[in-house]
Symmetry: C2
Subunit: 545 residues, 2 copies
Amino acid sequence: MRAIPADSIYEQNLAKNSANYVPLAPVSFLKRAADVYPDHPAVIHGEKRYSYRELQARARRLASALEAKGVVPGDTISIMSPNTPAMIEAHYAVPAIGAVLNPLNIRLDAQTIAFILGHAESKVLLTDREFSPVIKQALAMLSKKPWVVDIDDLATSGERLGEVEYERLLESGDPEKPLDLPADEWQAIILSYTSGTTGDPKGVVYHHRGVYLNALTNVAAWAMDKHPVYLWTLPIFHSLGWCFPWTIPIMGGTQICLRKVDARVIYGLIAKYGVTHLSGAPIVLNTLVNAKDDEVTSFPQRVKVTTAASPPPASVIEKIEARGFDVLHLYGLTEVFGPMTICEWQYAWNELPAARRAELKARQGVAYPSVEEVHVVDPATMIDVPHDGKTMGEVVERSNTIMRGYLKNPRATQEAFAGGYFHSGDLAVRHPDGYIELKDRSKDIIISGGENISTIEVESVLYKHPAILEAAVVARPDEKWGETPCAFVTLRDGASASAEELIVFCRQHLAAFKTPKTVVFCQLPKTSTGKVQKFILRQKAKEIR
Amino acid sequence: MRAIPADSIYEQNLAKNSANYVPLAPVSFLKRAADVYPDHPAVIHGEKRYSYRELQARARRLASALEAKGVVPGDTISIMSPNTPAMIEAHYAVPAIGAVLNPLNIRLDAQTIAFILGHAESKVLLTDREFSPVIKQALAMLSKKPWVVDIDDLATSGERLGEVEYERLLESGDPEKPLDLPADEWQAIILSYTSGTTGDPKGVVYHHRGVYLNALTNVAAWAMDKHPVYLWTLPIFHSLGWCFPWTIPIMGGTQICLRKVDARVIYGLIAKYGVTHLSGAPIVLNTLVNAKDDEVTSFPQRVKVTTAASPPPASVIEKIEARGFDVLHLYGLTEVFGPMTICEWQYAWNELPAARRAELKARQGVAYPSVEEVHVVDPATMIDVPHDGKTMGEVVERSNTIMRGYLKNPRATQEAFAGGYFHSGDLAVRHPDGYIELKDRSKDIIISGGENISTIEVESVLYKHPAILEAAVVARPDEKWGETPCAFVTLRDGASASAEELIVFCRQHLAAFKTPKTVVFCQLPKTSTGKVQKFILRQKAKEIR
C-alpha cells in the first residue's frame, strides 16, 4: 500500500465534494434504468408486467409507505417471500430509506424464524400468504412482534396475519418520492442469516459498496449483452440472489419471477420470453437435465446458466450443454455476496474432448473479477500451498465483496477474519494453472487411518455410475480406521444397482481407503437452496449398525 | 442521504478490515488478467507482442526501476509518447508505486511543455524520440529539470536526451516485484492538462477510485464480450484514453498500438487482428469514411466505434455504419474521465428510417452508467430546464468519475464545482424523452440581435451540403446585430461551391438570423485530438473586413 503524504501538492485543496464523490449504492442502477428505459419491461410475473417506470414507482411507494409507518435508518425489515415482484421491490425500496432488508429463507421452521426476527429486531415483516401457517407460529413465540404486512401473490390462500395487504400499503405510498442514497456506502443494506448446521443462525451484514461492485462486476463476468432476460430459478433470499436484482437494471434487462423450481414451467418461460440467463444450485441443473420429454419446450437461443453452491458433476455439465445451456461455474459463500471464484474459460480448452472440458469446467476456478485475492493456504501458517493439484489448504480471500461481519456476534466475526483474510472453511487444492478445485468443507472431510479423504472426489466417481441420480458421502465412525466413507445414494427412476456393485465400481476409480465401505439407498435431505444436509447424513451414518 | 445512527446494532463491531475493504485501484485489473490469462496477447505493436504475463513483468520492471531511481508516492512522472507499449505500461507501473502519471499531449509546443513540467514538478520524463526536438527546447527552458528516459520505439530516430533508454531501464528492474495498491482509493493517479484556449493549461487530477469505476463501467456501456481486440485510434494521453488501458484487461482483451491515425493502416489492422472496438473523435470517423478504395481492407466482423469530443454529423454516422462499424456516441470532457453521457439505443428506433436513426444517435444522450446525475440547468438558479428540446441550459453532473480538481488552482476548482455540481461549460437542450442534445460550448454560442444561435445547429446544416467536407461556425462581430454567424468550410476534393450558394442552402434549413452572413473557405485549425480550434477562427472572423 502506497500512501501519498499529506503535504504533497496532490493533497492540497483537492478534497472530496458532493459533485465528485457519491456513495456507491445499487439503488442508483434502478434510478438510471427508469430514466433511460422507462417503458422497457423490468419485471414479469404471470400476467403481471411492470416497466421500469412502474417498478420505480412501486419501489418509491413502498419506501414512502414504510417511512410513513415510522421506519427510520437502521431499522430491520424482514421479508418472507419466494421470487415475486414484492421481493424485488423490497430490495430497492428498503435500502432507499436507509433501512436494512432481511430476506428470510422460506423453508425455515417457526422456531428459527422466531429466533431471527428477534435477533434482527425486525420492525416490519412482509410475508407471502403461502407461509402464513409457519409465520403465525413464529409470531406467537415473540414477545415483541413486528408490524406485519401480508403479500397476496398469485394463487395464495393462506390466512391474513397483518393489518394491511402489500398492494394496499403501496397505494398509500407516494410514487414520486425519490429513492435515496445512503450517507455512507459502508452502511448496512441487507441482513441474511446463514442456515448454520450447528448452533444458532448467524446474521451476515452486507454493505451498499459491496452490492454495487458485485452487481456491476456480474455484467463483466457474464459478458452480458444489453437487455438480458433473467429467470429467477435462484432464490433471491439466498446470498442476495448473487446481486442479480441489481445487475439486471444496469443492462436494462427483464427479471422473470418464479415461485417454484419446476422443469415444465422453467422450459415454458425460457421459450416464451427468450430467457438469456438464469442461475441456481446444481439441483436446478439436475432438474433441467432430468426433465421428461413432455416437460421440455424447445427454444432457439443459448441460455447462460451460472451454477454454484457445490461443484456440478461433469456428467451433468455435459448433458445440460446439449440441451441449449452454456454453464458458467462459480464458487462462493453467503458471506462473500455469492461468487468468490469463477471457472474462466480458456481458448485452449476448446480443443479438448467433451468429457475433459466438463471436468475442467467443474473446477471452482480463479478469482471473480471483483475479488482482490484468493489463496489456498495452510491455515496454521497462512502460507500458500504449492500449485500442485494435490496439497490441500483452506480457501481465504480479500475483497470489497465480503460481509462487514456477523450481527451481534463479534467472536464469530473475528474468527472469520483471522489473520486479515476471510476464511471460507472450505478445503481445496490449487492446480499448476492457478485454478482452484474444492475438495471439501473443512467439517466434511473424512479422516481414515490418518489419511484425508475428499468426499467430493468420492461423490464425483459415484456420479459417473449410470444408475445414480444423486450421491452424498460422509464419514462413518469406525473403531479401526477412525472414520470410513459412507455413501448415500438415490437411484434414477427404473434403474437398479446393489451396494456391492457400487463399491466395486468405486474401487475401479479410487484408492482402497477412499472407497465407500457402506452404501445406503435413500432420498437425500436438502436445504431450501438444494444443498445436501450432510449433518443429517452424518447422524444417520453414526446410527448404522 | 440516509445515515444509520452510530448507536445502531449495525454499527457495533462491524468496522472495515483488510479483508473486506480494499482500495479501488485499476492496477488490480492487470494483476488478475496476468493470473487468469497469462498467455493471452495483452499488447501488440508492429512485430512486438506481449502476453499478460509479459506485460505485468514489464510494468513491474518499470515500477521497481523508478523506485530504485528514488521515485516516491506523490511524485509526478511525465510521459511524451504516442500510443505505444511504453505508454500503456506506464499507466500500470507509475500508479503501482503511488506516483502520479502525467501524459503530455504530443502536439504541444515547447513553451507549454516547459510550463507543464514545471507546474507538475515532474521528477522523471519518459519521452519518445520522435519528440526529441520539442522536448529538448522545453528542457532548456527549465531551471529544475526532470530525469529523462528516452523511449526507442518503432522507426524513430530523434536525438537521445536522457541518461538511459527505456528498454535498458526495464532491464534494470525486477520482474517479480508486486504491483502495489494505493493506501487510499482517493489518491491521485493521473495528472492531465487541458489544452486551454485561454490562459495557462489547467492540471486535472484524477483518482484511483474513479478510474476503477469508469474502467469497469465501460464493459457494461459497450456490452463488451470476453477477449475484445481494441485498436488505439484515440490518443491515450487524452482524458485517460477514456480508461480503456484498464478496461481491456478486465475482459482479457488485446490492445493494438498505433502511433498515427492513418486510414490504410487502421483498415489493415482491423482485418489482421479482428479488431472489435475502437474509439476516437469524429475526425477518426471522417478518416474511415473518406478513405480511398485502395486504402480499405475489407473485414468480416462488425467493429464497435465509440465517438465523442463533438457530435458526429448524422451523414457521417450513416456512412460509417455502411462500412462495417457500429457507432456509439458519447459526450464528455477531460475533467470527467471521458464519458458523461451516452446515446443509449432504444428498440423503438429500429423502425425509423436510416437518416432519422442517425439524427437520434447524434444526440449526446443520457447519463453514462457510472454517472449519478446529469442535469441541464439554468446556471443562475441551478433549476432544471423543461424537457422541451428547446430551452438551453448548462450541462452539470454528479459522479464518482469526476476529477478531484485542478492542481494548484483552488479558484478554478471552486468555480468548476459551484453549487455542488460539476459545471461542464456546455450548453444543451433536453428532449421530452430525457435525451440531452448539445447546442454549444458556453463560450462558442453566438448572440445575434439578442437571440442565441447554436453553432452546432448551423454546422449540422452545412454538413448536409454534398460539397462540404468540414465546417465550423463562430461569431463575427457586427455593428448592427452584435454578432452574426461566420462559417469556415473545407470542400471535398474536386467539389466546388460558392459562398452565396452555401448561404442560400443554409437559409432553406434555418431561420434567417441563424444563417451565416459570411463564408470562408480554408483548412480548419485543429487540436491534436481533432477538435476544431474555434478561438483561432474567432480571431480570424474579427479580422475579416
